[in-house]
Structure formats: C-alpha cells, structure tokens
Symmetry: C2
Subunit: 322 residues, 2 copies
C-alpha cells in the first residue's frame, strides 16, 4: 500500500480510502490510485486489516468427517450461508475424537474466527466458556454440547425418528426388530436407541441391540450372532447411514425388512429400495449458519434450540413382511 501511495503520489491514508470505497476522495485522485493499484498488482493484506479491525470475517466449522456424505452436505450448506454473508470458512474434521475436536476449536479461536459451528465429538465443552464469554458465538449442530454450555443448537428429532422407524416395522407385522447403532456415547445414537426402545415397549430385547463403531466386520459379527438366536430378528433398524450400508452388505442376498436412519444416494435404486427415516442435512447446516450470523449481528437473546422433523421415505425394504 505504501508503494501504491508513492506511485500515485498520495498519502497512505488516501489509498486506504480508495480501497475501502470511503467518501471524500477527488475522483481524479481515486482514478490515479486505482491505476497504480492495477499496475502494481496490489491486493490488500487481510491479516493487517483483521489485526486493526478485530473481525476476521471467518467462520470455523468442526465436523466429524469432511468425507462423510451427511457432513459434507451439511458443510456445504454452511458454506453457502457463510459466503452469502461475505465470510470464509475454515473447516476441520474431528474424526470423532474429543482431543482433536478441542484442538481444532482452540486453533480456530486463536485465529479469531468470528464464530464457530460445531458437530461435537466430546462430551465436555467447558473449555469453550472463555471464548463464549469473550463474545465468540458458537452453534452446535446434530448433537448438543456437554452440560453447562448453553448455546444455540440445531438437532433433529432423533428419538421421534427412531420411534417412527420402529413403529413402521411394527405396523408391518414385525415383533423381533433388531437395532444396530453407533457407540452409545454418541448423542444421536443414544437418542435413537431411546426412541426405538420406547416404541417397542415390552417387546424390547437387549439381545437384539448392537451399538458400536460402524466397522463392517464387527457389525456383521453382531448381526450373525442375532440371526443365530432361537427367535432371530425379522427386521432391522439401522442407526445411521454408514451402519445401514454395512448392514446391507452383511445381509447380502438375504431378504430382511430394514429401515435405516439417514437417507443416502442410491437408496432408491437398490432392490428392494431402502426405506429410511430421513433428516435434512442441508437445512441443518443452513439453519445453524443463519443462527450464527444472527448472533454475529448482535442478537443476545436466550439460546435457541431448534429441533428439525424427520420423515419416513417408503421404498420397499421397510414394508417387507416378517
């Protein structure tokens, strides 16, 4: 900028004014400055600007895995809103690791992001307190923060969706319905188990429940164990997209009723089509980002807790008889 100023024969501040479109610059002078900028290929140093102004126009996004279709769609929705507000997106994958999650958030905060959107991995977010108090807003998506941290959240109706799925299978005559879910420490998995259990009532049988990381081999082993029971399951409720796919592979050929939580690409092309309880990651990401920007524009009301509805999409697998 100094170079531009001397090239155009004006003071530093005048260049700054031109660059920022501030009023009070003679059109002729402004033109000379612009010409010099063009000629020198100058572009404003945002780091210095940030330092001076205090706002980075950057939002930090922490998700579980950028490569997971659910989260990448969610992330894309966040990006769109962020862009619309003239901000950039710093993103990172926590890999379901609380340590990594915390590290990411701390790094983002050290860079003074204007706000955070987090799909939490850990169960304790008290470390966020100083940042929140310092005025950096955060919105939690998909899962709530740990106790004692009261921020905006955007969740889906996990328990309700699981009830829907389970009732759907019950309505089609099933009495032995297995649940394959993710680790119980994951909030969504726990809520879905809860809804499943509530819908089953006295039909609940813990031998038909498996909750673990979606590793194909393990899920398959649990499934085999259940199928070897005296009264094996006649239907499956799978607790998330990845587990649904693993289960589909494990079932390979065997025709069994199945409802999965989370919709996924090609679910309609399989035979039978896969009936799912669908949430809407685009809405979730978009709403979370909107909430964040509302905070950034000064809203200091009490924390909002959005719970998005889910819906059953019938495609065949959930309508198979026992």
């Amino acid at each position: 900028m100094k170079d531009v100023a001397s090239a155009a024969g004006v003071a530093l501040k005048t260049v700054s004014r031109v660059v920022n479109g501030e009023p009070g610059v003679h059109p002729g002078t402004a033109e000379r400055v612009r010409e010099a900028i063009e000629r020198l290929g100058y572009s404003r140093n945002e780091s210095a600007r940030v330092l001076r102004r205090g706002r980075t126009s950057t939002v930090g996004l922490v998700i579980e895995d950028l490569a997971d279709p659910f989260y990448s769609v969610l992330g894309r929705a966040v990006e769109d809103v962020t862009t619309a507000h003239g901000c950039l997106l710093l993103s990172g994958s926590s890999n379901e690791d609380p340590v990594r999650e915390r590290e990411l958030i701390r790094t983002f905060c050290a860079r003074r992001v204007d706000g955070l959107i987090v799909v939490p991995a850990g169960e304790d977010h008290s470390f966020l307190r100083p940042e929140l108090d310092a005025g950096t807003p955060a919105v939690f998506v998909d899962r709530p923060p740990g106790p004692g941290v009261d921020v905006d959240t955007v969740l889906c109706d996990n328990a309700g969706g699981a009830r829907l799925a389970t009732r759907h299978l019950l309505a089609h005559g099933h009495r032995r319905i297995a649940f394959l879910g993710d680790r119980p420490s994951i909030h969504t998995a726990a809520r879905r188990l809860h809804g499943y259990r509530a819908a089953l009532g006295r039909l609940f049988d813990e031998r038909l429940v498996s909750m673990r990381a979606p590793v194909p081999r393990d899920v398959r082993a649990d499934l085999d164990r259940m199928l070897a029971l005296d009264s094996p399951p006649t239907a499956l409720f799978t607790g998330n997209g990845r587990i649904t796919m693993t289960a589909l592979r494990a079932l390979e050929g065997r025709r069994m009723a199945l409802v999965g939580f989370d919709d996924f690409e090609l679910a309609d092309l399989l035979r039978p089509g896969v009936t799912v309880v669908a949430q809407d990651p685009t809405s979730m990401g978009g709403l979370a980002a909107e909430l964040l920007f509302r905070r950034l524009s000064g809203d200091t009301g009490p924390a909002e807790h959005l719970r998005l509805p889910v819906r059953v999409i019938r495609r065949g697998s959930g309508e198979l008889p026992p």
Copy 2:
C-alpha cells in the same frame, strides 16, 4: 499478552518467548508466565503473528462442490496432509463457475494463504500469475490450468481410463456403445470423450454421444433419443459418477451393459453391480497437498505433472452381453 506480561511482572518479549517455547528463559520465570497465561485465559492472536511473520499456515482449497462425494473425499485427503503440516484449510466451492472460482482464489490470496490447491472451473488462469510470481505456490488437481500457467498438476489418466472402459465393452461383444458425458468444456469430459473415440475407431457414431450438464431430465432425454435409433446402443459408457447415477435411474429396470467413470458407494450392491473405471480421489488430494508442501519448503524445480492410473472394477454391469 501485555496483560500477561504485567500480571507476571515481566516484559512482553519474555511472554512471547515462553509462548513460543524459545530457549533462554529461567524455568521459574516461565512458570510464573504460564501461570498468568492460564489465569487470564490468554491465547495468542494469530492475526498479529501472521502479520509479523508473513506466513499464515493456511492453505486455500477451491473445489467444484464440497458436497460432491468425489470432491469431498479429495478435500478430506488434502485436509489430512494440511493438518499433518500444522496448517489449516480454507475451503470454497466454485460451483463450476469461473467467476466464482476467481473470486475465491482472490479472496484466499488477499488473506495471504501459504498455498492454493485448485480444482479449476475456468479455462483462463492468467489472473494467478501475480500471485505465483509473488511466491504463492498452487497445485491444480483433477483438471489442468489454462494455457500459459505452468504449475504442478495431479490428474488422472482420463483418456486411458475411457479407452479401458470402451475396450472392456468391446471385448464383451458390444459394437454400439453410447457415451454420456459432462459438458465438453470440462477438461476431464473432453479427455474421456477422446479416449472413448480412440478406442472405438471406425465404430464411432456421433449420434451415440451426449455431452451436457448432469441434469437428470436432459440426460434421460438424450438416452431415450439414442434408444429410439434404428440401431440403438447395447452398452453405455457414462462419463462421471453423477451421470452414472442419472443413467442408472433413467434405465430403471432395463437391462443394459454399463461402465461408469468414477467409483461410488454402493456400486457393489446394485444388481447387477456397476462396473466402473475407478480413480482414487484420496491419492489425488493427498499427492496434490504433498506437492504443495514440497514447494512451501523451498523446492523450486520445474512444475511436476502427475498422472495417476485408473483401474477397471468388474462388478457385472460391464460384462453383460449385447
């Protein structure tokens, strides 16, 4: 930092030394400083640090669409390498729009990212010249930059893969093989058309070629048109993952040989399984990032041009007879 300094009764510089783990600080003093840092909840302001040091430890990633499985997997690979080098990732989706692409790159450069990884949308990247000359390295992935810009690239063997796919269908007895590809302005689509055409030789018939944006309705219309020909195609070669899925939906039930470019989740679970020419987005992203960091650590050798191999994965659809 100033507050920490006065709280600990030391000079600014001493705090800086402690924060950066520089040697030459008395253990007792360091302890006092750390205690003050803890008590005040201080965290270093990266913006100021960046301003002073000149390096942002940030990489900018421009891809076509964060929500597309191919690119999100690629992005994840970039993220992993970036993280391993202690850097953060700024990412943005170009939406296949050259204007947006340029805007993103300019914004990233204004923020002084240390380097860029770009899946280009446009055909002219001369606007990058000043940045490149200023020492900001860039690596292009999946598609090469426009003419006159000589930077590292990581591409896959598009023409070779298309030849493989086409020959595969030829070997299974097909003579009428249609090609459904993306817009010819997209480098990968053009190269794949080229390979397809080369493999077909005199069997090439331009009535069996459709190149357009992967909009289901349009692709379906083109497909219907081809099927209504006197000598309709007996096999399909689809030019990318999205088009493959669109075609699969359009074929709905009709049994026709098909080989797709790009592998995708669940391709193995469809009946018949979908034979594909697979590239490896994880390797592509990872290699691109490695290349970038090699540049960042001072390598000034001539631009490297990596071309990754592709492989045919047989799953059934490509082995159907005419």
